[in-house]
């Protein structure tokens, strides 16, 4: 069945399209009509037509998110009456709602950024339960004994590449994240602060050495997504120096730095806390091998979910409300601490401003990614408001008028008049994620791409425009109409399968038997463990 969308303003940066144009799709793919008449027509004049948006870093599944649900029963009371024919569509903060709410904003692919390898099955069960959108996750490496011992013992890079390949295969992940490299292990040994050149006891490795070796090895696996790095010293005053030093240490190789707003802090002013976004952005602009996502803060009640258990432990006394879960996992960690960003709070206001400064001062929207580090900086449901802030200096000025006066002296935000265009928004949320994860089939509207299409009614109120997509097609199926899900579908889970030498498997089997006295298979994600709704799709590696 050939479908034609006509009269819409197509914004498709990958193909350089920014004009009124027709779009055809059939059997779930964008096609060229080749003179055929469409079976179905949709008049989308007055609308903007984009590829489905891709969220590169959002905590939507796994043990951390589920712990947050249990920690905060007060945070997700459901209030809406139950629409017909939609199982669990009224649960407040469920897997079901995650898919529904993302789809209604025109998002069709979302990547969960932090799953401990031993908890991969749990994450896949949750992902399989999220309707409509495609999804995937990053597996977390860089604090486990197997890897640290290999680095310490100067194991060959080939063996590290094999280890990464085996882990990606066992966990069915789409890439590799590293969190506070070495710091999570150090915290188990009662170290409370861990910076780039601090060493992990017993291994004699600095955080710098760990992330660099892991970065090189990830690059050598030929998976498309570079090492996804959560740096040291998150949230601390003056930590921009850590971020700058990390970029200097990035070896000219691809490196993704996560939620960089949380590293854009200087020490100026009487509180010893200021925005250092300008300095940071300048560095990002000058280092094209590095990509960043922002992790924008918005003023709302949130919960922080992070594998940086050292940071989370240090955050406990400031929790809002004051409670939290600190989990020392197998070769990993997790902390869940609730928080509330307040416009009247000096520190929170600086954080809010620093994030926007980064967005506005980073020149290339292919290099800077749109995230709130959901739910750490803000819930993903605030995205439309963040888009509106990026697109309107006036709207930012309105916000600034509510900030504590002293904050405005410590940020450059009021002076920044840049306003993102729709083309730049589409670049940041479609074209750039496509390149970052090496997606060949999405993030664009060229022939052969999946028919994941988000259509927004052109409005002056950009937040309203992006909050409720007028129409969304997922794999060519009509799933959202006027901001409401009209049809539920099942998306796929995206994974990579790089080649590796399978001899590593027997080494790992022996390691697990020796250390835990358990078969490694107990931690692997196997088909028999997954429901029929878990469908996988492979993202190709570099050739």
């Amino acid at each position: 069945m050939l479908t034609r969308l006509h009269g819409g303003h197509v914004v498709d940066p990958v193909n350089g399209v920014d004009e009124i144009a027709d779009l055809y799709f059939e059997d779930g793919r964008i096609v060229a009509p080749e003179g055929r008449a469409a079976d179905v027509e949709h008049d989308v004049s007055g609308h903007v037509v984009m590829a489905g948006a891709i969220d590169i870093h959002s905590h939507i599944a796994g043990g951390g998110v589920n712990t947050a649900r249990l920690l905060l029963p007060e945070a997700h009371r459901a209030h809406r009456p139950r629409p017909a024919d939609t199982p669990l569509s009224t649960a407040g903060w469920s897997t079901f709602e995650t898919g529904r709410l993302y789809a209604q904003m025109g998002y069709t692919t979302v990547i969960e950024p932090a799953i401990s390898p031993h908890h991969a099955l749990h994450a896949h069960l949750e992902l399989a339960d999220i309707p409509i959108i495609d999804k995937g996750f990053l597996t977390v490496l860089g604090n486990e004994d197997f890897l640290l011992a290999a680095f310490r013992d100067r194991a060959s890079q080939e063996s590290i590449v094999d280890y990464i390949g085996a882990t990606l295969e066992a966990t069915r992940a789409i890439g590799v994240k590293c969190v506070n490299a070495g710091g999570v292990d150090a915290f188990k040994q009662n170290i409370r602060h861990f910076s780039l050149d601090d060493e992990v006891p017993e291994y004699g490795l600095s955080s710098r050495q760990i992330f660099q070796k892991l970065q090189q090895a990830v690059n050598a696996t030929k998976i498309r997504h570079p090492l996804h790095l959560h740096m040291n010293n998150l949230g601390l005053p003056g930590n921009v120096e850590t971020a700058l030093a990390t970029i200097d240490a990035s070896q000219g190789l691809p490196l993704h730095l996560a939620h960089v707003q949380f590293y854009a802090y200087g020490t100026e002013g009487k509180n010893g806390f200021s925005s250092a976004a300008a300095k940071f952005a300048e560095k990002i602009n000058a280092n094209k091998n590095v990509t960043v996502d922002v992790g924008q803060v918005m003023f709302s009640d949130i919960v922080t979910i992070s594998s940086d258990v050292m940071k989370q432990f240090n955050s406990l006394p400031g929790g809002r409300p004051k409670k939290g879960v600190i989990f020392d996992g197998d070769s990993n960690g997790l902390g869940v601490v609730p928080y509330s960003y307040r416009v009247s709070d000096f520190f929170n206001a600086v954080q809010w401003a620093a994030g926007l400064e980064l967005f506005l001062l980073c020149d290339d929207p292919m290099q800077v990614f749109f995230t709130t580090d959901h739910p750490n900086g803000a819930p993903f449901t605030t995205y439309p408001e963040v888009f509106a802030l990026l697109m309107s200096a006036d709207r930012r000025a309105q916000y600034c008028s509510r900030l504590p006066a002293e904050v405005l002296e410590l940020t450059n935000l009021p002076a920044l008049k840049r306003e993102y265009t729709l083309y730049e928004i589409a670049t940041m949320t479609r074209a750039a994620p496509r390149r970052l994860y090496g997606f060949e089939d999405r993030g664009q509207l060229g022939e052969g791409a999946v028919a994941d299409i988000a259509i927004y009614k052109l409005q002056a109120d950009r937040a309203a425009m992006f909050r409720n997509a007028a129409y969304v097609f997922k794999d060519g199926e009509f799933v959202v109409r006027e901001g409401k899900v009209s049809h539920y579908t099942r998306g796929r889970t995206l994974r990579v399968r790089p080649e590796y030498d399978r001899q590593i498997d027997s080494r790992l089997d022996k390691y697990y038997e020796g250390l835990y006295g358990l078969p490694r298979a107990l931690f692997e994600v196997q088909d028999a463990a997954l429901p029929a709704s878990a469908r996988f799709s492979e993202v190709p590696c570099r050739h």
Binding site: A61, G63, V65, N66, R69, L70, L71, L72, P73, H76, A78, H79, R80, P81, R82, A84, D85, T86, P87, L88, T90, A91, G92, W93, S94, T95, F96, H118, H119, L121, H122, L125, E126, D129, D145, F187, K188, Q189, N190, E202, F313, L316, G319, K323, G324, V325, I326, F327, D328, G329, D330, L515, Y516, G517, L518, L522, F523, A528, A529, P531
Partner: protein, 365 residues
Amino acid sequence: MSNATLDGKSISSEDAYEQAAKILQEASFPLVAGLGADVAGAQAAILLAERLRGAFDHLASRDSLTDLEVLRSAGVFVTTPNEARVRADLVLLVGPGLQSYWPGIFDRLALDKETIHGGTSKRRVLWIGPKRNEAKLDGVEIETIAATEQDLAGVLGALRARVGGRPAALAPAALKKIDAAAEALRAARFGVAVWAAAGLDPLIVEMLQGMIADLNVTTRFTGVPIGGRSGATGVLQASAWMTGFPPRTGFGRGYPEHDTWRFEASRLVDSGEADAALWISAYDGEAPPWESDDIPLITLGPPGSAPKRGLFIAVGKPGENYDAVEFAQETSSLVLRRAGAPAELPTVAEAIAAISAKFSEDLPC
């Protein structure tokens, strides 16, 4: 023997599914309880409760909620048994009967072996309030602090006080022993407390976690909870991601509401608020806890566990008769258990699907 019975008399599976659907569909507020099931079975059961606008509870909710109430009111420090195995230089066992709640506990914690990570050392093992003759393990010297179940809160309170350098009103000999234990806890590099909520009052768990938080001011200390029976922790996880809430959640208003009193299974049945019940206990056929015996009842359990009254449909044992995902105490994670004794019995999820297939069309979705 038939795989389905009605009031103890054999009936066909088809008839059983038909009748089960009729009972549930005619109820105005049905209860899905027991929930002794694997993750897929729990998911099917929770979806069923939602579809029927009923409520659901797990047979070991009391134990899950003991830990959960501490988690959601104050927070917790936890680790995995395997991290304890490789790293814990001090293990603090709390309360009686730990091995009955987790038969594999000592094998998994490897208390007789040296630590591997964070330095190699012999472990120090303390046990507060073991049963008589319980604190014995080959190759391990277990230091015991006697406490009856009634004393446990007081002893733990005194220990927490002494860890924090605060006074405790104890006789000199008892104080000396508590002080020695407090000193041992403070001297641990990576201490791990192990407890089973099933044997404890929530205030004891809160006291224990408060002490762990205090210890983390200067050293590292954390805990390993022993989860509830009949898949309680796995069901809790599935319930959380599906509804946002743990079991004891109802859908009567058309959206999930969680209330540990309102949606407690026995109360719902004995008060008459629930007017039909689906009782699931696939692991061992545990009987329902309520007193009322006139509620229309459907039981899913292993063969041979049919109650005298009501409808019974035999299902396989998860992880034994069919491949199943459940929470593994030994790894603190969801794992696949391969069937060691496959049987021609429906899984919990299949039985629920077969019942649901008999609902008349007018039930939403």
